[in-house]
Symmetry: C2
Subunit: 182 residues, 2 copies
DNA sequence: TATTAGTGATTGATCACTAACTAAATAATA
DNA sequence: TATTATTTAGTTAGTGATCAATCACTAATA
């Protein structure tokens, strides 16, 4: 029943287990980030994984679901990143910023994917995007609440705004656009 | 030499002058905003204008240039909107916000177009986008400078961040995401 | 007569997605 | 243990739809 497991022969003689679904998502993030949802082709994703193009449709119903799965993966990483966040009120924002900057360095393509998702006029993708943003917002509000902020929504809103500007600066290749603070 | 001028017969017997290029751009903004760059078709734009699809290519070299022309038009409106901005330091931000909110109400599709442009992986479109954002930023910095702000870049950066969050809230249909201030 | 404004028909390329198949691993059975 | 059946993991080949872009043309105007 485990559709995800399989084996490949590596250069040596050992056999290493591999999860095709994960591999495909990994490649999909890169290809989608590089070319955008509509320009990216399932053939490009398949080539990057080293499988045939039709095989993608054995593991994902269609291109839309592949994209959504990749997008959800990206949101899960953000949530995981902030899940452990905890600091006194006067340090919380700085810590949050630091965590996010690290994430942007290690997984820029997942950020770019999300920026692209904003503009995709596809109902299912939009819903997934709405849900993701809402979850991140809720999580951050809980963190700012826990730190004792009186108006966590205001703090979080500012944090989200600056985060978005960061994302856009990254996506457009405009480092000078990154938020400036004193 | 005036490629833009022509006439159409309206329902009455009079003849009204018309600028096809402008008409096409007007429709293009709507169609692109509704379907996104790649899903929007030149046929949809043509239908909205009431001309044949090939005629678009008499006035625009290709789809990319049509989109860029529409995008530039959107940026020009923003620049025009803020061009007259002038207020004492303690009112400037509020005035700027009011102007932008008005713009978002009167021309939401131009805002959505810009949000979409962020995610389009096309070199020419990206360059146009970079130039547009830079121009808006420069203009706002001059306004905040004129009002006597000590660190206009910081103020403008915050303004841009909140503006972007506004744009995203509009594009995703998430009014609850709009910036919160106290 | 030349230019402007416009159309109908077509095409070449691209791509998501399907169908029909195979090879290998694993489990069941004699 | 050898043999057969079944599932898993994957492939090759192809199709139907979509669309930007071109070409060759016409009708009206100046």
């Amino acid at each position: 029943m485990n559709k995800q497991s399989g084996t490949i022969r590596s250069k040596g003689e050992e056999t290493v287990p591999v999860n095709r679904r994960e591999q495909i998502l990994e490649s999909a993030v890169v290809v989608f980030a590089e070319h955008g949802y509509y320009r990216a082709t399932t053939a490009q994703v398949a080539e990057k994984v080293g499988i045939s193009q039709p095989y993608i449709f054995k593991l994902f119903k269609n291109k839309e679901e592949l994209f959504i799965a990749a997008l959800e993966r990206a949101f899960e990483r953000i949530l995981r990143t902030f899940s452990g966040l905890q600091a006194p009120a006067d340090q919380l924002l700085a810590e949050a910023i630091q965590l996010y900057e690290q994430l942007m360095e290690t997984h820029p393509n997942e950020i770019i994917l999300q920026v692209q998702a904003i503009g995709i006029r596809d109902e299912a993708i939009r819903q997934s995007m709405q849900a993701g943003i809402l979850e991140v917002t809720r999580l951050m509000e809980s963190k700012f609440s826990a730190a004792g902020f009186a108006h966590p929504e205001v703090e979080v809103s500012t944090f989200m705004a600056n985060g978005m500007l960061c994302n856009i600066a990254l996506t457009l290749g405009m480092p000078e656009l990154k938020p400036k603070h004193l």
